[in-house]
């Protein structure tokens, strides 16, 4: 914002010059009465809006109210050009005389936070600009100042084409109806805003709201009178009545800004004192809520490793989005994202103050972020431990079922066959021989099933011969052809070898069951202090790591070793399961 200040100075100089020119034009006007009053009032309103607008723009650059206020001041000064005796300036001034109404309405509806909140507000403002820029100037094609404005001393209207009273009256009536509709809509919106504003905002901007409402009531009167009477004196009086609240608005807004600044300064001092007392859990939120006078304030923290937000208790959260009725102001420390202050949208009017509060509290926020990160990790570990326990129970149940359905059934059949054979040994030795041969086959099958089960519990080959041999055997036994890539030629810590073995075993089982692959590759390498186990296939892809207990169980096993599991499985492009396990 370094280029803002010179721009604001430039606008101030322009406003000064413009105001002085207007002052001269009004004072020397041949057709205005009470010129001194008009010239002074004109400057009071124009410079008031521009001065306060530029000040507010400078103090709160991301709040549009200052800019809109300055725009209203310039539009007002432009309308004063209509006091000139020059035909050109008179015509320009008359044709643009209503623009300041549109900017004033925009400013009133956008105050105090600078945003139009509802679709209705946005439509009112759009229609306002449309009327004053597109519909009003053509009206002057039919206005003869001497007869229609009852002003014989006025210069000629350069836009005047022809006098047609019917067209002029119809055009004027339509514009009056549109004008009165807009003003009533603004009035209702202002009342609604006032009723819904949080108490601090209502207190601070009460006078501004009141003036805005008074202005709208006066304008309703003006439009109503215009539609029933052509009494120019009465219209002048009512216009002067409407100008009074308009003139007051910038000064009351300035008073509110100064008061807010004083309150913000006091709140900031109190916040610094509270932060100095090393706030405990929860107190930091209370301190910030107090400083920003927003009891609904919430604090969320950014965890870079998780690439996500957590609340102070470490629970994962999503930041409120658009339309949630909440506003978010980010807090950074040393250029790094640190926290988010989630607050009432009314505080957007003082966003710089919210940012300042965040900056002052950033050290305390950093401390609480670390606490939240720790709590998040503890939660993750607790969840992982519970999953490990559940997986352990499931594995034991599966083991019992496998034993029951497999080896145990074979041994039962074996026992029965042996008993049968014994009974026939004397009477029918051939039958006994067949039964014994069957029993021998059952025994072999039971032994093989027991070996398979034992391998699933703990692969003895891995302990005895190491990962390389164990993986070669896994590859050899897999139903899909497996190509072995880089494998470690040294022994790794037992827990790491076991985790790597189960990753390959589970991944190859999945390849055989679901991938419809023609080949798989297995590699175990090192990368930046980690062992990277990778199993890739050329199958159908589309594996979802969240579905099925196998991959999730692997992720939990790895989490115990602070390892991570990644699954790339775009549909139609095969699957790659990759585990990264910290190792020495």
């Amino acid at each position: 914002m370094t280029s803002l200040r010179p721009a604001l100075y430039g606008l101030a100089a322009l406003a000064l010059l413009f105001g002085l020119i207007d002052f001269g034009l009004v004072l020397t006007s041949d057709f205005l009465s009470v010129r001194g009053v008009w010239a002074s009032a004109g400057l009071l309103v124009g410079w008031g809006f521009i001065g306060v607008g530029l000040f507010a723009w400078w103090r709160r650059p991301d709040n549009r109210v200052g800019m809109l206020m300055a725009a209203t001041g310039f539009a007002w000064l432009l309308s004063l050009v209509g006091a000139s005796d020059s035909e050109l300036l008179f015509t320009i001034g008359q044709a643009t005389s209503s623009i300041f109404f549109a900017t004033a309405i925009h400013m009133l509806l956008a105050a105090p936070d600078g945003w139009l909140h509802t679709r209705i507000e946005r439509r009112i403002v759009a229609v306002g600009y449309l009327v004053v820029i597109v519909l009003v100037p053509p009206l002057y094609l039919f206005v003869d100042p001497a007869r229609d404005l009852d002003c014989r001393e006025c210069p000629d209207n350069l836009l005047f084409v022809a006098r047609d009273e019917t067209v002029l009256n119809a055009f004027g009536a339509i514009l009056n109806v549109i004008g009165i509709t807009i003003v009533v809509a603004v009035l209702l919106s202002l009342v609604r805003r006032w009723r819904r504003a949080p108490a601090p905002e209502r207190r601070l901007y009460a006078a501004v709201y009141a003036c805005g409402i008074a202005l709208m009531l006066a304008l309703i009167g003006l439009f109503a009178l215009q539609s029933v009477s052509n009494d120019s004196d009465a219209l002048d009086v009512l216009f002067a009545v409407a100008i009074a609240p308009l003139a007051l608005i910038p000064y009351l807004y300035l008073a509110a800004l100064v008061r807010a600044r004083v309150l913000e300064g006091g709140a900031m001092g109190e916040l610094v004192a509270r932060l100095g007392e090393a706030p405990r859990a929860g107190e930091l939120r209370d301190a910030l809520a107090g400083a920003l006078n927003d009891p609904s304030l919430e604090l969320f923290y950014w965890l870079p490793a998780e690439r996500g937000w957590v609340d102070p208790d470490g629970h994962r959260v999503e930041l409120p989005g658009e339309g949630s009725g909440r506003a978010v102001t980010g807090v950074e420390r040393d250029g790094e994202r640190l926290a988010a202050i989630v607050h009432d949208p009314s505080l957007l009017a003082a966003r710089a103050h919210v940012r300042a509060v965040g900056a002052v509290a950033s050290l305390a926020l950093e401390n609480e972020r670390l606490d939240a990160e720790l709590r998040c990790k503890v939660d993750d570990l607790r969840a992982s431990r519970e999953r490990m326990l559940r997986i352990g129970l499931e594995e034991r149940r599966r083991l019992e079922r496998d034993l029951h359905d497999g080896a145990q059934q074979r041994l039962v059949s074996l026992a029965l066959n042996l008993r049968l054979a014994r009974g026939r040994l004397r009477d029918d030795p051939d039958a006994a021989d067949r039964l014994l041969a069957g029993a021998s086959e059952e025994l072999e099958a039971a032994l093989e099933e027991l070996r398979e089960l034992a391998r699933g519990i703990h692969p003895a080959l891995l302990s005895d011969r190491g990962l390389e041999t164990a993986l070669e055997t896994l590859a050899h036994r897999a139903p899909v052809p497996v190509r072995l890539g880089e494998l470690p030629d040294e022994r790794l810590p037992e827990a790491v070898e076991l985790a790597a073995y189960f990753v390959v075993s589970e991944a190859l089982t999945n390849v055989a069951k679901y991938a419809a692959a023609s080949e798989a590759t297995v590699s175990v390498g090192r990368d930046d202090g980690r062992i990277v186990v990778e199993v890739a296939d050329d199958g159908v892809g589309g594996a979802d790591p969240e579905r099925g207990t196998g991959l999730r169980g692997l992720a939990d096993r790895l989490a115990v070793l602070e390892g991570r599991l990644e699954v790339d499985s775009e549909r139609g492009h095969g699957t790659t399961v990759r585990a990264r396990i910290p190792c020495g």
């Binding site: 029951h404 359905d405 145990q408 059934q409 074979r410 041994l411 039962v412 059949s413 026992a415 029965l416 066959n417 008993r419 049968l420 009974g423 026939r424 059952e442």
Partner: protein, 115 residues
């Protein structure tokens, strides 16, 4: 006259071995069923004297099958069997007795059926 037997077990190898053994020892094996619902149907149709009923079945377990059979008037003698031990199953009512699968034999079954 030989006692008629229905063998209810989800393992075909056991059903085959049990049929051979019981037939060799004088029983008339009138049918086999591989789950609880098939067993209930088979009892209605075949009216066997004895049901050799595995405790663990894919749908209803053996105890539930025994309960449903007891609720229907003419009740065959129900003998539970399992590759588990009785200690793994717990006390059971409404059945004639229990034989571990590995100890199944004609005399063992007769001993349970003799009042």
């Amino acid at each position: 006259m030989a006692l008629s037997v229905l063998i209810v077990d989800d393992h075909p190898s056991f059903r085959a071995s049990a049929r051979m053994l019981l037939e060799a020892e004088g029983f008339d094996v009138v049918g086999e069923a591989e789950d609880g619902r098939a067993a209930l149907r088979a009892v209605r149709e075949l009216r066997p004297d004895v049901v050799l009923l595995d405790v663990q079945l894919p749908d209803l377990n053996g105890l539930q099958v025994a309960e449903r059979l007891s609720a229907n008037g003419a009740v065959p003698a129900i003998v539970l069997t399992s590759s588990r031990d009785l200690d793994d199953i717990g006390a059971v009512r409404g059945v004639r007795g229990f034989i571990p699968k590995s100890e199944l034999s004609g005399p063992a079954l007769e001993a349970l059926l003799t009042p």
